[in-house]
């Protein structure tokens, strides 16, 4: 099967000398829901940010849709990012701006920079933005200020913003880590909907194994910057769990 994204020998050493990734090999196939697990500091976030080039990798290759992107700079890097939506643990919406404005920011890369400075988005973009808000079930909140929404609602706006980019890949960096269990499940359901209904490939960092087993189609695990597991979510048994999270860890059931 053809890969959507393929990573070979990816390394990242930060300027302060910390080695976050020690040579990762990874393939992402179209349409899958790939979950990345691992302790905090294992390199999950760095991996995601290398993929959409928010971070420059130190060494290795990243091939996205048959194009090598690990050295992409400036305009070219922005083109790559446009094809990859991203959502974050802390939602990262722009406060004091309306929900609809926040979703429209997903169109910045496709909008003429001078028009965008005056918030002049194409009418079809506005229609699209509203339809994505509908998809995540908060169309009625379009005119509210983003900071007036609850955490779960803010994350749904963030999903709509990512969708507005019309992405082929959605990167989710611990999207439910700062939400309560019930809201977390709801947000995960929307991610599954995006994956199944829109056919957008998802790469998602997660902490809770119960959510991993429920939503992932495939799992990889990082430990201290190395890939230590790759397989089906059902295959992570007690032994693997201790290998990934350390001997003293115990699974916490969030549901």
């Amino acid at each position: 099967m053809k890969t959507l994204l393929s990573v070979r020998g990816l390394q990242k050493v930060y300027p302060n000398g910390v080695t976050a990734l020690k040579g990762i090999d990874l393939d992402v196939y179209p349409g899958e829901f790939l979950v990345v697990i691992g302790l905090s500091g294992s390199g999950k976030s760095t991996l995601l940010r290398c993929l959409n080039r928010l971070i420059d990798p130190t060494a290795g290759k990243i091939i996205f849709k048959d194009r090598q992107i690990e050295k992409a700079e400036g305009r070219e890097a922005r083109k790559v990012r446009r094809k990859m939506g991203m959502i974050f643990q802390h939602f990262n919406l722009i406060p004091r701006q309306s929900v609809l404005q926040n979703v429209l920011m997903g169109r910045l890369g496709a909008t003429n920079p001078w028009k965008s400075l005056f918030h002049l988005f194409a009418p079809q973009d506005v229609v699209k933005a509203k339809s994505y808000l509908e998809l995540v079930g908060i169309a009625d909140k379009a005119d509210l200020r983003a900071d007036q929404l609850s955490g779960g609602q803010q994350q749904r706006v963030a999903i709509a913003r990512a969708l507005a980019q019309n992405p082929e890949l959605l990167l989710a960096d611990e999207p439910v880590a700062s939400l309560d269990p019930a809201t977390a499940t709801a947000v995960m359901e929307y991610l599954r909907k995006v994956n199944k209904e829109l056919g957008i490939t998802v790469v998602c960092n997660l902490h809770f194994l119960s959510l991993v087993r429920e939503y992932a189609t495939r799992v990889i695990a990082l430990r201290a910057g190395e890939l230590v597991f790759e397989g089906n979510p059902q295959d992570i048994d007690e032994t693997w769990f201790k290998k990934i999270y350390g001997e003293t860890a115990r699974d916490i059931n969030v549901r």
């Binding site: 959409n52 928010l54 922005r78 083109k79 790559v80 990012r81 446009r82 990859m84 939506g85 991203m86 974050f88 802390h90 939602f91 990262n92 919406l93 722009i94 406060p95 004091r96 701006q97 920011m105 997903g106 169109r107 910045l108 890369g109 496709a110 920079p113 965008s116 400075l117 963030a158 913003r161 990512a162 980019q165 990167l171």
Partner: protein, 349 residues
């Protein structure tokens, strides 16, 4: 004690001992009629510098000696490890060697300051002096309200000077603030621009508006225009620095999020940073207008126009009832601006 904190202790102690010794010598010269006039000081600059250098060397030796002889010093207390600090804490302040040294030095500094500032209760309680002050006070409390229309006209001019100085300063300050924000100016080129911007702004800001006023009164002539320019330069530098700090406080999350959509650097600034900073910007601008009103009054004293110029004219002629009227008008204007500005800033929060 680690090597670096030991070194810091020695440097601190050496400087502190040198200061104490220099204080004693200076104090002795003041009391025993040593020549401390400026001319002698300049003539003997080499001797003074040499003896200060020698003093520092001796003090460094004393500092190391204290450490060897286990005499507690202020430097040790400041830079010691946590355990040693607890141990030192058991000895009462006035029983400890460092406590006595610190107390003696503070006391001596106070005494020398009194001598240097020519502090004198005799002058303060001189009958003739007090009578003069009372005459002046009487004039101020019996303000000549006939001057009210003129004073109000002049205070209005001052308010406009402050307003224009603030408004003209905003656009350049806004642009410069992004060049002077570390989180916007990334990379090597960025750092150079950042460093140059910050340095220029710091220099412009460190020159008091009063000095700018002196420069501009020569340049464009005495009057409100010179005052406005002086305030404008100072406002520009201050606002740019404050704006930069607000920008540096902007949450990195939204910046990362907008970058991840494929937005250009300019779009990142406009959509991720500006919305986060707008309210604090406005708040600082209003506060600056309020400050400028008070500063404009002072600048008027050196020929910057407005109510300050009026004040210095009547003060020069010792026309105290008129001065009283002007002071009332200034106080009222400052009070109104102060209340209005804090009310607006509170509402913006």
């Amino acid at each position: 004690m680690s090597a670096s904190s030991a070194l810091r202790r020695y440097i601190f102690d050496a400087l502190f001992f040198a200061y104490s010794a220099a204080l004693v010598i200076y104090g002795a010269m003041l009391i025993f009629g040593g020549d401390t006039s400026q001319e002698t000081a300049i003539a003997q600059m080499n001797t003074i510098l040499l003896s200060l250098l020698g003093l520092s060397a001796v003090s460094a030796a004393v500092a190391v000696g204290c450490a060897k002889a286990h005499i507690s010093t202020l430097g040790e207390v400041l830079f010691a490890s946590h355990a040693r600090r607890l141990e030192l804490g058991k000895i009462g302040f006035f029983k400890s060697q460092w406590g006595l040294h610190l107390t003696a030095t503070m006391l001596l500094t106070f005494l020398v300051s009194v001598k240097v500032t020519e502090f004198s209760f005799y002058e303060l309680t001189d009958a003739g002096g007090i009578a003069g002050a009372l005459r002046l006070y009487h004039g101020l409390t019996h303000a000549n309200l006939g001057l009210l229309p003129t004073a109000i006209a002049q205070v209005v001019q001052t308010i406009f000077i402050a307003f224009l100085a603030t408004v003209i300063a905003i656009p350049p300050a806004f642009v410069l603030s992004f060049l002077g924000a570390r989180n916007v100016m990334t990379g090597n080129t960025g750092f150079t621009i950042y460093a140059v911007t910050r340095t220029v702004l710091n220099i412009a800001r460190s020159v008091e508006p009063l000095i700018w006023a002196l420069i501009f009164t020569v340049w464009v002539g005495v009057g409100p225009f010179a005052g406005m320019l002086a305030l404008m330069i100072h406002s520009l530098a201050s606002l740019a620095k404050q704006f930069s700090e607000i920008i540096e406080d902007a949450g990195p999350g939204p910046i990362e999020a907008i970058r991840s959509t494929g937005a250009s650097p300019l779009q990142v600034v406009w959509f991720a940073i500006v919305p986060q900073t707008l309210m604090p910007f406005i708040s600082f601008v209003i506060y600056r207008w309020d400050t400028n009103l008070r500063m404009a009054t002072v600048i008027g004293l050196v020929g910057g126009g407005g109510i300050g110029t009026l004040l210095i004219q009547y003060q020069g002629q010792a026309m105290w009832p008129e001065v009283g009227c002007i002071i009332i008008v200034i106080a009222a204007a400052v009070w109104v601006m102060d209340v209005a500005s804090s009310y607006i800033r509170e509402a913006l929060r």
